[in-house]
């Protein structure tokens, strides 16, 4: 419990206090504490919650009745589940349909045999650290929301608790490397991810994925920039809301924590959905894409098709990262 919340609570108490004091100005003349006693129904109507003074150091204990807390479960059990289910299952379904109709985007001109370095070891380390954390965080998070509906019926409560307990430990501890990874991603790729005119062109042409087009792009095309900003902003949102949940009541009330959970849940669900797309395009969705984060070396033809402007830049630097090596 922080000072801030304590003050807020107390200010609240006094707000009620003075309200009453002003209502009965002739207090000295006729003070009948029994007749003027507070009434639960009235308090709830006026303030939506009932708080007072208590002697415990944990001042959260001074809130005795917050009926609205009950309503959070509707979000937690219904709204969030629908949002998460629709977005995740929906994106997954779309990807399946897309894959079935479009198939893997091939390197049109075939592999050149020459590669160019797209991501160095450091970049790949950061990516995979963050990605690994993300996957575990996502799974353990999904378990909190869906586990009791999906997993509990097929295992013993003890086993499910053990899974959830470990999931919670992982979720809490891996949040730190995830946060660090997100910050590093933000810093190391911010240069290539500022939206510019090419993105408009890229977007107009549907990123090339719809149809068989190859709009020019620098190191990061519009889609990748979107992923970047989803990761950075989404990561920030889940991190901040997550830490509020991890250290509750330092500067927040119950409703603040509930809000944090709402943000955390929704952002995480959308984040997961977005990452499904990212994973798709980086793996089976596009030939040659995985190598960028796999070995870090991409085929020059792939680069030419998807990041023409970037490749030109790289070549123009005179010390081309492009290596005259045949691809195996």
């Amino acid at each position: 419990m922080t000072l801030q919340t304590r003050i807020r609570t107390i200010v609240g108490v006094f707000a009620i206090a003075f309200a009453v004091a002003f209502v009965t100005p002739a207090a000295a003349q006729s003070v009948n504490p029994t007749a003027s006693s507070v009434n639960e129904e009235k308090l709830l109507k006026e303030l939506n919650q009932i708080s007072g003074r208590c002697t415990l150091p944990n001042q959260t204990a001074c809130n005795i009745e917050i009926p609205a807390n009950r309503e959070w479960r509707d979000f937690q059990q219904v709204t969030l589940r629908w949002i998460a289910a629709i977005s995740i299952v929906g994106v997954f379904a779309l990807l399946v349909i897309f894959y079935l109709t479009r198939g893997m985007v091939k390197i049109e001109s075939g592999r050149s045999g020459r590669t160019v370095t797209r991501f160095n070891g450091y970049e790949r380390f950061v990516h995979w650290m963050t990605a690994t954390c993300f996957i575990i965080l996502a799974l353990s998070g999904l378990n909190i929301t869906f586990g009791k509906a999906l997993l509990l019926p097929i295992m013993s409560p003890e086993a499910f608790t053990a899974i959830s307990q470990w999931g919670k430990y992982f979720h809490n501890y891996l949040s730190f490397p995830f946060t660090i990874g997100t910050i590093m991603i933000f810093l190391m790729w911010i240069g290539g991810n500022i939206p510019n005119k090419t993105d408009i062109e890229w977007a107009k042409r549907g990123g090339g994925i719809v149809g068989k087009d190859h709009p020019p792009a620098y190191r990061f095309n519009g889609g990748q920039k979107m992923i970047y900003w989803i990761v950075v902003l989404g990561g920030a949102a889940v991190a901040i809301s997550g830490y509020i949940l991890m250290f509750p009541f330092y500067g927040t009330t119950v409703s603040g924590v509930q809000l944090a959970q709402i943000v955390h849940g929704i952002v995480a669900a959308l984040f997961i959905a977005a990452m499904l797309g990212h994973i798709y395009i980086g793996t089976i969705g596009m030939e040659g894409a995985f190598e960028a984060m796999g070995s870090g070396e991409v085929d020059v033809n792939w680069a030419k098709e998807h990041h023409k402007l970037w490749l030109e830049e790289e070549m123009g630097k005179g010390s081309p990262r492009a290596k005259a090596q045949p691809a195996e």
């Binding site: 108490v13 009453v20 007072g52 415990l56 937690q76 409560p157 608790t161 959830s164 924590v257």
Partner: protein, 198 residues
Amino acid sequence: MARMKFLCDADRCIECNACVTACKNEHEVPWGINRRRVVTINDGLPGERSVSMACMHCTDAPCAAVCPVNCFFTTADGVVLHSKDLCIGCGYCFYACPFGAPQYPRVGNFGSRGKMDKCTFCAGGPDPANTQANFTQYGTNRLAEGKLPLCAEMCSTKSLLAGDGDIIAKIYKERVAKRGYGSGAWGWKTAYRETIAG
């Protein structure tokens, strides 16, 4: 079948905290965990009232609804209990509870706050036997011995009532009729979706 409820008659409550220490005494609840507490509204002003609050053992309990591991269950007497063997200390029940009932051994969530602890209506844990292990986890099971929660039994002014909802509602109603005033059955609407007409 009884439906166990609490009712704090705020027009009798004097914030003596007997309920708080009776609970500590009966269940040897450690420092920092307060299964029951007393809060004073409009402190120091005419009309001030104190209310003793703990788990109200809600109808359709929100804590149970939001628990990600389903560790809650409701006994046939309407007492909402949970299993500390299943609890993972996530804190969701605290967020969903309108009465601030769930308590944790540790303040932060980092790592774990430990197993949630709350008022059991003196009904022990999932295993109703009064064994040492159950006592350490949940406290005693007075209901099984035909006794009611000690907080209410020891209430200095008989303000805190515990027992079958219909019976305690009747007692409260009679009191209000006799004395001509009543500030309400605190928490009943929120917990049980019902009120006691004064």
